[in-house]
Symmetry: D3
Subunit: 212 residues, 6 copies
């Protein structure tokens, strides 16, 4: 058994849309999202390193690149936000974890199983690299929702997502990379011309700490 099943699975991720039927202007595949998160993590890692942190780049790229590979097994569950209780969501996560185990046992050759068990496990841990993944995942979601808002999509759900993404990013506000994002990147984003700019500016201001 070689790695053919793993490699062929990559092309599944090219056809699997994130939140199917949700984005109106631009759909996003799991493959493209993974690429963007890795690119964003790379930039955040730059800032951390320049500010003196020790970045384990191998770990960082590995976490970012592989963090959604397991969506192959269970798909992107259709927004079960409203009708799923926390307990139901927990059950779903467990099912996914066990399918991943089955996949590794069946499709990855033994001498690589440890590496892929690590890569396909939850990457958002307490390490610096795990934190950068958490931030990068939300920066991409913030850009995805901004893409809809910028193009004139008036549904308030995209403003909600923008707000929630920013809220999660702010949990890490002590990190220099988040400081950089808030001070240098976000203002440029908000200076783009688009229809509902005032509403987005207001929503952003309400979330930002007073000193920003």
């Amino acid at each position: 058994m070689g790695m053919h099943a793993y490699l062929q699975g990559l092309s599944n991720l090219e056809t699997l849309n994130r939140a199917p039927g949700f984005f109106k202007y631009q759909e996003h595949t799991v493959a493209a999202h993974s690429f963007k998160v890795a690119e964003i993590a790379q930039m955040l890692g730059d800032i951390e390193e320049i500010h003196g942190a020790q970045v384990d780049w191998q770990r960082l790229y590995e976490k970012a690149l592989n963090h959604d590979y397991t969506e192959r097994f269970i798909g992107d569950i259709k927004t079960p936000v409203k009708y799923a209780t926390p307990e139901l969501r927990h059950q779903l996560a467990e099912v996914e974890a066990r399918m991943t185990q089955n996949f590794i046992k069946n499709e990855v050759p033994e001498f690589l199983q440890d590496r892929y068990a690590r890569r396909l496990a939850e990457g958002k841990d307490e390490t610096l690299e795990g934190q950068i993944l958490s931030i990068a995942d939300k920066v991409d979601l913030l850009y995805e929702s901004f893409g809809e808002i910028e193009k004139g999509n008036p549904q308030s759900v995209f403003l909600d997502i923008f707000r929630e993404s920013l809220t999660t990013i702010l949990l890490f506000r002590e990190r220099p990379s988040v400081q950089y994002f808030l001070k240098e990147v976000l203002p440029e984003l908000l200076q783009e011309e688009f229809a509902d700019r005032d509403r987005l500016l207001r929503a952003t201001r309400e979330l930002l700490p007073a000193d920003l």
Copy 2:
């Protein structure tokens, strides 16, 4: 609380693809599949009635039309065939059933809750109408896989699906509607011109009982 959430949910089913990324020539939405299953059930019901069975038409249409509405809540789980154990699949079904309960409680007015609990429950029971639903669901899947085979898709998975659909249909071979399907409809389907006809004919012959 009126039925707005239920009605608006119908348009979700227009954007939810069956087995996303699987069909190569023609994608099928859950809405279109539900329509086709109801049309097929209608024809099977005709044959049963003409052969003397008592068809409860209200129940039949209701079962066929609503049998996949709950895919809204959990989506069409990405072919977890290979890496899910029976236990994992059972867990997923349970999660779906409980999300459906939550939906009915939150979105359907009380005086209609009984009706929708019945409509959104599993319809494939032992009644005549439940059996027709089981058959119709597989006849549509057989046509969907045939659509790929007919247009030249060489992947053997479509032949597998054709075979499995036919196998399930044959479980009901005592039903006059299945007899009619096997004797009058299937031969017409097999007479269409397409590339890999011999392989499909062979696969079909192997499954059919000797007297057909």
Copy 3:
């Protein structure tokens, strides 16, 4: 001759778009529209029955499900509203009716021809079920135009369609199901957040009778 041609025709309805090139955010196929109309008719039938009417459920589902099957033969004629006189539109309807006759004669086995002549005939008659079909067809069109308005489509044609759909629904305002739609469903729809809500509210108010 079995029913293969009829069944295979179902998949044509999956690829036939309603008003091609018209909807900007979400296209609707004839198959999906038929599904939604049957679901809406089911809900309207519930209300009528609960208010004491005798609903012939078989007839109701049958009418709703099959009411656009014949679009297979002539397609969804490209908005001939502006340049067709009533006489030209009448001629087109006649051509469609005669193609349907030819289809039944050529493709439906004799013992089923009566059933399908009934199902493929115009269903919007004076019976309760015919009225519910007329209402359900417009409720779906109202939701389809609302789908565009809600997502920010500023073209006034969608407001026109919303208005015309509501006008037709109001022709049946004595029916309890229409009362229910106006009092319980429409207000929920209008409470959704979307860009041009005031304009839609105004247009709706102008059409609704004073006591609603």
Copy 4:
């Protein structure tokens, strides 16, 4: 009244597909088809002129470019081949012609009405330019069906269309441009590598006159 309605109508032709749901590999819009027919007519006109014919180029381009503009009004009627009698087809053509008249009267300023009446009328007359249009229209259809055959579409209907297109082209076999097409272009097309080449070669051979 200026020509805005006419110009805006051009973008309708960009969204109107020829035979919707028919081509599996590549869809063709009416706009793109009109472009290709004009390009093909240009090449056929070259050959005719080089062989001594007097080509009225203005007329030739005009006929080719505008020959399907009127599909805006009635759309591309869904293959009514099987269930329409000649009489029904005649009626449809008449409806289209009268909608075109209504359009010209309502949307084209008076001083241009003669020009557009000529351009939107049937162009396939007995003149050299009318003949070239007939040929070019079929050469494009032949290429469209070849596009499906070449890419492996096994449905025999594309071979039928290839054959019918060639049959119509052969009606004009005395024309030098058709001679050129048969001797210089068709053999190159048949030398492309594709799956079912033998079948296409055989079908072509059966149609070609013995001396070709």
Copy 5:
């Protein structure tokens, strides 16, 4: 060597999008754009001729129809506006011109090479027909950007393109066809109902000469 490669290349232009990923509501292929430019040039030619100009119709149609055929060779270079210097843009044009030469030498039979060298060369020269092509190309771009603005796309880049197109058209304001466009067509376009009409009216007014 016949003209098969040229004809088959036409279908490339059906799949080649103008400015891929740029238009949000309606994509435009090079084939459809060429069709529309030829239709617009035809109308502009009408006006010029009626005002007494001598129109070489063969040259006019030929220029309009073929003006983007060479995009086959180099594609529609991804908006290199921002990061390309004039010198880089000049280099790209030269590469394209030389690929076109190579194509004519390799794929067009010798007796037609002069004709196609003329047709595939830059058509926007100082002749009346060259000027009409320049105008028609921008009228189509103006309509393409208007298509986005009209449907509610709030990105200011479409207003910029509208403005730049109009600016180029105004360079030819002495031409009767441009006078006609400004006085009869543009006001009709601006009377369409759409969201951001005031902004578009303002932008238009600022560009138009005082006497219009």
Copy 6:
């Protein structure tokens, strides 16, 4: 100036198709390709490391992830294989390199310019990581062409690409990762069921060295 322009550019790569109009069954975006190449490089790096090589993982991920970012500036030039001379292709590469320089100067803050100049430069150098990138880029192309062949696309161009990809991979046959690919992955790929397997097996056998 922050990194907003860089991050927003990522979403351009989601809409930029590789070789537009070329793949018939599955299109591939530049973003998805970059993701897959990074995943493949990760697996090849595993094998190299296990066989004792010193892998600079940061450099490897960085090269793989960013190797096509610059396609944003010039797009994926439309197969200029046939009509471009080597000199023309060289000129195009130079134009792209200089646009990249302009981009870095204008859009990347000074303290990051060195990092991005390195990341956006040509990555396929003589280092181990550069070699792995060259291999991974071709493994993905091999899988992309196999995707078409497997699904029945009969056009010989996909076999040509499969062959050319394999030929390039074989240039690195001394590398343990290539050995592993040839001995463990490729045989699994060739064991998949698909139509033209014999032809692919033959083509592969002709390329493989005798001892494999």
